[in-house]
């Protein structure tokens, strides 16, 4: 059988007629007009294949990515080191072409890989169980809140003001039909004011959502939040975490989180222009039957040999239909596999070393940048792991700095315009992959960009520095 059977125009017309649609375009009606590509690809007719490929390659070369530039941008996905072996193993056809593993008798490899991913996630988060992965960290977070709304009586969810803004948008969208009100906790600089999680505030709340480190890279007082959330009917404590930070920071299970969610990407697969991603979902055992998504389990086959299989499927859509715990009926197996392989290759020592090196380099870069006149940490009181927010001089536009830095070969960060509480700044991430020479070059380029943006005028600071 041919691997690829092309549709003819007649096939397409027949299919459209069958479903009662007059043109293919009608199927894309849900996609806003403004972002739709119109008229197909801008390639002339009658151009040879090599010529076409050449044009497309030129077009693709305009993309700015972590492959073309030195990446100091984070905000949820990080340019972490991925061993070559990870890609090689994940590319094996047994994994890369495997279908959904409902038939355990032909899917032992895939199921074992999922089981190992779950084991890694449960150990890293110090929680009892993990599912086979979600689409991404944002949807995992929304599913966690939906779980909480079933496990607790209430109509509100308390959320950190410093949540990843994309995750916040996903929460807004996915919680809309539930009628849950999203209430932002007050902030204290770039941290959440966890003292505001009082008994009064907890009334009518199904969950409290914190992010560690938060969107601005700042470390929250998760322990205090866990201590504030006590008792049998307390709101569920949901921690959205950077999975690679757990090599250094306390795991969610240790500070009393009921559910931990996050992106699996920082555990060790490429950012791929922002996706596909994989989400992590781990919880205490008591929430097993409310968990979204697949769970692989270990059992025995008829001969008594160790065997893996999907388990607790009665929660899932293909069995429980409209009353399923979630609409997700898949997982991100291949990416979860890559996270599993990288984590196994690094081992605990490797993960700790990577975390330590990232943190040291981030700290060093923050020190160097804040020596530039007018540049300061956006919240000097907040500790950080490998990502931090800086405040720029008032007259300097973050986007202008990013543009100048891009010309010098850097993806310099994420613009923060405005910063919480006012002012403008940048969010800068440093992974273990960054070389000291790259950090050195970044500082030089950054200093030049800031000075150029200030119009070359000698500000009072530079004058006083020069005088020293």
């Amino acid at each position: 059988m041919s691997a690829f059977v092309q549709h003819t125009d007649a096939d397409r017309r027949a299919m459209l007629r069958t479903i009662g649609v007059s043109a293919l375009e009608e199927l894309f009606a849900d996609i806003p007009e403004s972002i739709r590509a119109k008229g197909g690809l801008p390639i002339e007719q009658g151009v040879t294949e090599p010529e076409t490929l050449g044009k497309l390659a030129k077009l693709a070369a305009k993309n700015v990515s972590a492959a073309s530039h030195v990446c100091f941008a984070g905000g949820g996905m990080y340019d972490v080191a991925v061993p070559a072996a990870t890609g090689a193993i994940a590319s094996r056809p047994e994994f890369s072409t495997s279908y959904t593993p409902y038939q355990a008798e032909v899917s032992q490899g895939t199921l074992q890989a999922i089981y190992e991913f779950q084991t890694i996630v449960a150990r890293l988060t110090a929680l009892d169980l993990s599912n086979a992965s979600m689409y991404d960290g944002g949807t995992a977070l929304a599913e966690a809140v939906i779980l909480a709304s079933g496990a607790r009586e209430g109509n509100r969810v308390l959320v950190t003001p410093h949540l990843n803004p994309h995750h916040r948008e996903i929460l807004n969208t996915m919680l809309e039909p539930t009628g849950l009100e999203i209430v932002e906790l007050p902030r204290s600089g770039l941290r959440t004011d966890v003292a505001a999680i009082t008994a009064d505030a907890q009334k009518g709340a199904v969950a409290v959502v914190l992010q560690q480190p938060n969107f601005y890279g700042a470390l929250e007082d998760m322990k205090a939040a866990g201590q504030a959330l006590q008792g049998a009917t307390k709101p569920l404590f949901i921690a959205s975490v950077d999975m690679s930070s757990l090599a250094m920071l306390e795991p969610p299970g240790a500070y009393g989180a009921d559910i931990a969610v996050g992106e699996a990407q920082p555990l060790g697969f490429p950012m791929s222009f922002g996706g596909p991603a994989a989400g992590v979902f781990a919880a205490k055992a008591e929430y097993l039957r409310r968990m979204p998504g697949r769970i692989a389990g270990m059992g025995k086959d008829v001969h008594g040999n160790r065997a893996f299989t999907l388990t607790f499927q009665t929660r899932e859509q293909h069995i429980r239909r409209s009353k399923a715990t979630s609409n997700i009926c898949t997982n991100q197996s291949l990416l979860a596999l890559m996270a599993t392989v990288t984590t196994a290759l690094l081992g605990e020592t490797g993960r700790r070393l990577a975390a330590k090196v990232s943190a040291e380099k981030a700290w060093s870069l923050s020190r160097r940048l804040t020596q530039i006149p007018g540049v300061e940490l956006a919240d000097p009181d907040a500790a950080f792991f490998r990502e931090f927010a800086i405040r720029l001089p008032r007259e300097v536009s973050p986007r202008a700095i990013l543009r100048k830095m891009r010309e010098r070969g850097f993806l310099a960060g994420i613009p923060l315009d405005p910063l919480p509480g006012g002012g403008r700044g940048l969010l800068i991430a440093v992974t273990e992959k960054r070389l000291w020479s790259e950090i050195e070059a970044y500082v030089t380029a950054f200093r030049a960009a800031v000075e150029a943006e200030r119009g070359g005028a000698r500000s009072p600071e530079t004058v006083s520095q020069a005088a020293r």
């Binding site: 039957r289 009665t314 929660r315 069995i319 429980r320 009353k323």
Partner: protein, 129 residues
Amino acid sequence: MNIPQDLKYTKEHEWVLLDDGVAVVGITDFAQSELGDIVFVELPSIGLNLKVMEPFGSVESVKSVSDLYSPVSGVVADVNTRLTANPDLVNSDPFGEGWMVRIEPSEMSDLDQLLTAEEYAEYIGAEQA
């Protein structure tokens, strides 16, 4: 198929025993045999207010999950906590040790709407056919 004469029934296969003014509720022998091996019973918290035919929990077997419906309006007075560790009691003794909740009825007239043993036998006979 065991259908005790002294109980009342719902079309959702719950049985009700009126014990000193309190409604004891479980699922029928027919229901447990249709569901197969029961692995988990989700029960409400004591004190919960229920309306008649509102779901109060669920019963999970190896092949499906089904909601449990309250045969009467009232307040949950007690739940069978033994089912947490031994959900198979629902299979082995559905009308006895497999009971699920005790509800203090707020509307005694709800009980009049329930099926008698004969009516339930006829109902499941029709459903089986």
